[in-house]
């Protein structure tokens, strides 16, 4: 069962997140092992179905995970297939490299403001790419070129996300 099927939804990037949450809560009440009656088999089935529900919710409520999952359904696995999303322009990769170098420098000199500024900038850029990927995915199922476009955009998004994780890490270290 696909993550969308778990929720009885057609595969689509555009979701009503409030409705998704409501449905998640209803399904939890229905499926959770704490509510299972009967024998071991019934409980095991409840654990499996709740696991599938929780995993589906985790993916669908997050725009990046949702977009990557839609790509997966279209046959492009950015996470596990090394070749998927390759062919990013060298300028982009150079840019990522220098961003990381700048971040390292800021970390070493404990320039927290600089780290935050870079974080905010990359976040905005990542959002713009994600929006573009979303509109590419809206037409994707029938259109191979659109899938490839979305894959290229999301591959970039993933680079930015990894960068932002590092920013988070630095901010957390600064708290300590």
């Amino acid at each position: 069962m696909s993550h969308f099927e778990v929720f009885g939804l057609p595969p689509s990037f555009h979701l009503d997140l409030d409705a998704l949450e409501r449905r998640y809560r209803e399904l939890s009440l229905e499926l959770h092992p704490d509510r299972a009656r009967g024998d071991g088999a019934a409980r095991r089935a409840a654990v499996e179905r709740t696991t599938a529900l929780n995993d589906a919710y985790r993916v669908l409520k997050d725009p990046e995970r949702r977009a990557c999952y839609l790509l997966c359904l279209a046959g492009v696995d950015l996470e596990h297939d090394e070749r998927a999303g390759s062919g990013l322009p060298p300028e982009f990769l150079e840019r990522i490299l220098s961003l990381h170098e700048e971040l390292d420098a800021a970390r070493r000199s404990a320039a927290l403001e600089e780290v935050r500024r870079m974080g905010a900038e990359v976040k905005a850029e990542r959002q713009a790419l994600l929006d573009q990927a979303a509109s590419a995915l809206a037409t994707a199922p029938a259109d191979r070129a659109a899938i490839d476009r979305a894959a290229g955009l999301l591959a970039k998004v993933r680079y930015f996300s990894r960068f932002l994780e590092e920013v988070d890490q630095i901010e957390e270290e600064a708290l300590e």
């Binding site: 009440l29 509510r35 654990v47």
Partner: protein
């Protein structure tokens, strides 16, 4: 993948009463729902609901728990174990064993063991088991009936090893553990059910040895944990240690005896409690006193309190919330009585915290409510708890890096699957190392388990593919299953906990505690090898029957000889090493044969598929 490997309790028929137990660092409590309301039961002499989590081992082998044990801690500091919770699931070399304390630790490669009077060294699981057994007895006396089922609370921030250890302690005490419930969740449950509240709450739980922060959303009967964080080695005990340390220093006692340490810690604890109400308290050791002012105490513990703030901010961020979006803050744990702690929490969240329910009792009351929910049919539809995994789960990859499989704060039960590919020609096995934690390097995370995937059919590098599935159940405990994707053969994996006791060790402790039998290690090893030999003989016999055509007469004769020798040793050997050696010899004799069998299985699996499919 089959669900056959999930470790799940069978549904439990109601038998006797189900209780909630707060197995605390300093005090433990037992509670039950009586006439629709959770109540704490008498747990120690004189009907006290608080049972000090102190266990004394006497010379004659008898065991005391609670106040009577506590009273003996000066005279017998090393035989009286306090705050054992801090050692749960810890390895012998853990920093916790290096802190100011008065215990003697037995030499051990794996788990912590305390040297005590009257018998063998005891593990933290056994010590906790004694506390649980005492609570069980008290509850049985209260109900005049059997109590066999319990919900036991654990700090939300406990990792897999600590949870497993707690569950094992319950088993040792003869309890069926219905659920390990996170302490802040239990507290929220007690508040939510009591007040019928709705909204988003932060539960700040500072106990004797652990700190937890949880952000929960209460809506329409669902208690959904949004995020959780904390420090499983930070609590009121550390406040005591700071005081004791400073006072011993001030009194010029550079190398205190175990008795002096025990005295200083106890006096420090009293002083800390006094300082919640007074400006000045006195700590005396060996007849010499040192005054401690509240401002001084607050300056000493300020770094510890600051540490809790980091965890709070992180939990808010993980929940995607700002402090202003929190509808209420609940204080739990005896250490929240310290005024400096309360001031800190108020300023952090910008509001006064709730303390309507006794912070010592609230966790046990919530656990009792959950035990009731899980056992009584009619209340099932009212409330559901959705809890999370406290720490990210990952595996070691090349270069000692961690590949994250399940991020922290994922709602449980949850699972992740991962495909491993062989990297050498003919590779038949693969090592997997599971860790828990947020850091990038394996060495900075908690090692949970190591296991070896075996029985991969020999193939060219990159062709062998094994899918490993990690399942985290509703207790936050991990189990693992694997499947070879080329042949479809599924495999059971014995996950060997990196710090902890094996199932065999637990079984043995159960036997020991039930029959008080002499722990005959030799007999056990022999029995284990006999069982292993039976398994090997059965497997080999089956393969020989089914694939006899793959062997030449000479090879067959060699295998038959080794086979007969193992049969003989299994029956008559009195030394486990002899059986072990015979198993090894049979394995050796079978090796070329096993490879041929694997190849045949692989060919059979591939047959029926066209080449294009690969």
């Amino acid at each position: 993948m089959s669900g056959g490997l999930l470790q799940i309790h069978d549904p439990l028929k109601p038998k006797g009463s189900a209780v909630g137990i707060d197995l605390g660092t300093t005090n433990s409590l037992v509670a039950a729902v009586i006439q629709g309301k959770p109540r704490c039961l008498p747990a120690d002499e004189g009907g006290e609901p608080l049972l000090p989590s102190v266990v004394h081992y006497a010379n004659d082998g008898s065991v005391l728990v609670g106040r009577r044990a506590s009273a003996l801690s000066f005279a017998h500091p090393t035989d009286t174990i306090r705050s054992v919770k801090r050692f749960m699931g810890k390895s012998a070399g853990d920093p916790e064993t290096q802190k100011l304390g008065c215990y003697r630790f037995a030499e051990s490669k794996s788990v912590v063991r305390f040297e005590v009077s009257g018998g063998q060294p005891v593990t933290p699981i056994e010590v906790s088991g004694e506390i649980l057994r005492a609570l069980k007895r008290q509850a049985e006396a209260y109900f005049s009936g059997r109590v066999e089922q319990a919900v036991i609370t654990v700090p939300a921030y406990f990792d897999d090893a600590q949870r497993q250890a707690t569950k094992d302690a319950g088993r040792l005490a003869g309890l069926t553990v219905l659920r390990l419930l996170n302490e802040p969740t239990a507290a929220a449950l007690a508040y939510g059910l009591d007040k019928g509240s709705q909204g988003t709450f932060a539960v700040y739980d500072l106990g004797g040895g652990t700190f937890d922060i949880s952000i929960l959303k209460l809506l329409d009967g669902i208690f959904e944990v949004k995020s959780t964080g904390g420090d499983s080695a930070l609590g009121g005990d550390d406040f005591d240690r700071v005081i004791a340390h400073r006072v011993l220093e001030a009194l010029g006692i550079g190398h205190p005896s175990p008795a002096q340490v025990a005295e200083a810690l106890s006096a420090a604890r009293r002083a800390k409690e006094e300082l919640s109400a007074c400006e000045l308290a006195e700590v005396s050791v060996s007849g010499r006193a040192r005054a401690v002012a509240r401002v001084e105490f607050e300056a000493w513990i300020a770094p510890l309190i600051q540490k809790t703030g980091v965890a709070c901010k992180r939990a808010l961020k993980d929940a995607g919330l700002r402090p202003a979006e929190i509808d209420g803050v609940v204080l739990v744990g005896g250490s929240t009585r310290v005024p400096a702690v309360r001031r800190f929490v108020s300023s952090l969240f910008g509001r006064e915290a709730l303390r309507d329910i006794d912070p010592d009792q609230v966790v046990a009351l919530g656990a009792a409510a959950q035990a009731d929910l899980l056992t009584s049919q009619e209340r099932q539809d009212e409330v559901l708890l959705l809890d999370v995994l406290p720490l990210s789960l990952g595996v070691e990859t090349m270069g000692g890096l961690v590949e994250r499989l399940i991020p922290r704060n994922s709602t449980i039960p949850t699972a992740a699957a991962q495909v491993f590919t062989t990297f050498q020609d003919g590779q038949t096995g693969m090592d997997v190392h599971v860790v828990q934690g947020e850091r990038e390097m394996v060495e900075d995370c908690r090692s949970l388990a190591r296991f070896r995937l075996t029985g991969i059919p020999p193939m060219s590098a990159g062709l062998g593919r094994v899918e490993v599935k990690y399942q985290v159940d509703a207790d936050g405990i991990l189990s693992v299953a694997a499947k070879e994707l080329t042949t479809g053969a599924s495999q059971e994996i014995t996950v060997r906990p990196s710090h902890g006791l094996s199932d065999e060790e637990i079984e043995q402790m159960l036997l020991d505690s039930i029959e008080n039998a002499e722990g005959d290690v030799k007999r056990r090893l022999l029995r284990e090898q006999q069982v292993e030999a039976e398994r090997v003989l059965k497997d080999a016999g089956k393969q020989l029957r089914e694939n006899a055509d793959l062997l030449s007469d000479g090879e067959r004769a060699a295998i038959d000889t080794a086979f007969a020798r193992l049969e003989e040793e299994r029956r008559s050997a009195t030394e486990h090493l002899r059986i072990q050696e015979a198993i090894r010899a049979l394995d050796e004799a079978c090796r070329p044969f096993v490879e041929r069998v694997m190849n045949r299985a692989l060919r059979n699996a591939v047959a029926g598929h066209s080449v294009e499919e690969y």
